[in-house]
Symmetry: C2
Subunit: 331 residues, 2 copies
DNA sequence: TTGTAGGCGTTATCAC
DNA sequence: GTGATAACGCCTACAA
């Protein structure tokens, strides 16, 4: 640790109080001479305040938390990087917690953060509504990323998201326009609002295509689900020429399984994913996908959260733009 | 925040000191009755100690830092997850800092961690030796992951790594045994020790193959470098039937460029990467690679660091096993 | 067996 | 203009 304020005060021949006032510019009646001396000594001995001690007093640890399902899912690192960059620039640190979408782990993690007097928390995906209300009760600023909960819209909870319904509506429409046969759907359980699924279904009906439950497979947001879904659909004798997937991992698993089954992408089946993880462009055929602005998510979320912590602005809902990135899997 | 010790003490009709002693089992002379009452009240009101306040006294924030180049590089999330799992299990939190391999940023980040009275730090890749000595001077436990610095071997710095020299020696030997032509090498700048490069070169000489500097390209650990490397080697008219890459990203970039240039993998060129990131198995052809135990790295590093923080054991050097995972790119 | 008092490093309210 | 002094929540000699 660097020197303490007490030591600095001793060297300058003044009291702690004076040092604190000078360093925080919280009292402009200090003489030029002392001010100069204190500042120069602080520089000379490379004094930096102890954030922990300060936090005990001013109730701001300048530390924020990010709770996510699993950092190994390639969708998340971009968000983390965005948060960390913004946090760092504002003098904040980032604690991350993997929750595996388990409410119990989530609650344990939250408890730990609380004991560390966390200044604010960013959530993505998982998050039991009870946790949110708990947070609000505690007056801890919260921002949700890639998740929109209508019920919270008016509460002081920040929400940053893309319009997944419209994105899936547009992407499914694109698949319909490029292929004659049925369009299948593989996704994870989306909880209550189901924007992806509804976008898919609305696109079908908007194009006067029948919706058929048996062309839908629901699993997790992972590669295995993509493979399982294709396996299952084919085993049931379902033929489809378009496949809309809940995310890129599912799409990649699906494409691998399709190839294994002797079906060609895009000739026999056109495939679309969601997220635009780095490898979407690198698999072969490269994957058409709905691009989510992950880094931007992170930066915006951190900015909103910190503004809220510092009382500069209240959190609000913020819809970002998505893009349909068309690649080989739909040529 | 939950209730404070003071409030708890008031409810139990005792002093803070007594509560502290009971909760920390630091004094066994407290009467059964009071002990029971305090514990039950603590449970009832869900008391949990304020880690921040405690830290100020006992000098352990139970928070560790992980400094890495960029979380978006798929090699790192597995390590982060390993660290976090182990930390969480032991009641520690994890702060991560992206440094982009920039010594200046690294030093800024470290300064922030220091101000937060971080209990220990894990580093990977980047790390100026001056930072290490600074840390040692400050008596802050340090563990290095995927990086072995001989000079630090006897210092109290934990080091966890695989024997990259041997791994690259073996992998290059495998390429030589499977192909007649030259074996090229694309990698990032490894700094001073250069285990990958030396492993590659030693394998050549051990197989009585000539080492030719012009078959080597050095860039960054990223996809672009793989593409550039192949582009450059081919532009110079170099023909090679084996390609040893510094990591999987380089290998994937290289394979894409080879295909673009009309060369077939593995028929014309066999390729090997390093790390075994998730996508190594998913690209087509799937990538042969040296598997690094990333999750294990993280768990071991955190365990070693926390033991060191708590004075249970001194950090030491720990070599883990690697595996050569043979996939389509070498069939 | 339990409580008092001082301190960890900082800020903030009053006095002087 | 500057400095005691009392918090913030917890721990720990040392007293009682």
């Amino acid at each position: 640790m660097s020197i303490t304020m007490k030591e600095l005060a001793a060297m300058a021949g003044v009291s702690c109080a004076t040092v604190s006032k000078v360093l925080n510019k919280t009292d402009h009646h200090i003489s030029k001479a002392k001010t100069e001396e204190i500042l120069s000594l602080a520089r000379k001995y490379d004094y930096t305040p102890n954030v922990i001690a300060k936090a005990l007093k001013v109730r701001n640890t300048r530390t924020i938390g990010f709770m996510l399902p699993d950092i190994r899912n390639p969708f998340f690192p971009g968000i983390v990087r965005g948060i960390e960059d913004e946090a760092m620039a504002k003098g904040y640190s980032l604690i991350i917690s993997n929750t595996d979408n388990d409410p119990e782990i989530e609650s344990d993690c939250f408890r730990m953060l609380q004991n560390r007097m966390i200044s604010g928390v960013i959530f993505t995906r998982a998050l039991s509504t009870s946790t949110v209300s708990e947070l609000l009760e505690l007056n801890i600023p919260v921002v949700l990323v890639d998740r929109m909960i209508d019920a919270l819209r008016k509460e002081s909870v920040g929400q940053i998201f893309i319009n997944l319904h419209d994105a899936f509506f547009a992407a499914t429409g694109f698949l319909i326009s490029r292929s004659d046969g049925p369009v299948a759907f593989i996704c994870a359980d989306e909880g209550s609002d189901r924007p992806r699924f509804n976008g898919y279904r609305d696109a079908l009906s908007s194009a006067s295509r029948d919706f058929d439950e048996s062309f839908v497979y629901i699993g997790q947001y992972d590669i295995e689900t993509g493979a399982e879904g294709v396996e299952k659909l084919l085993a049931c004798g379902k033929k489809f020429s378009g496949l809309m997937c809940g995310n890129d991992l599912i799409a990649i698993g699906a494409m691998n399984k399709l190839r294994e089954k002797g079906l060609r992408v895009p000739d026999d089946v056109k495939v679309i994913g969601c997220d635009d993880i780095e490898f979407a462009a690198l698999v072969s055929p490269s994957l058409t996908t709905i691009k989510q602005p992950t880094y931007e998510y992170g930066r915006k979320a951190a900015r909103m959260l910190i503004d809220s912590i510092e009382g500069k602005a209240s959190p609000f809902s913020c819809e970002l733009d998505y893009t349909l990135v068309i690649r080989e899997s739909c040529y």
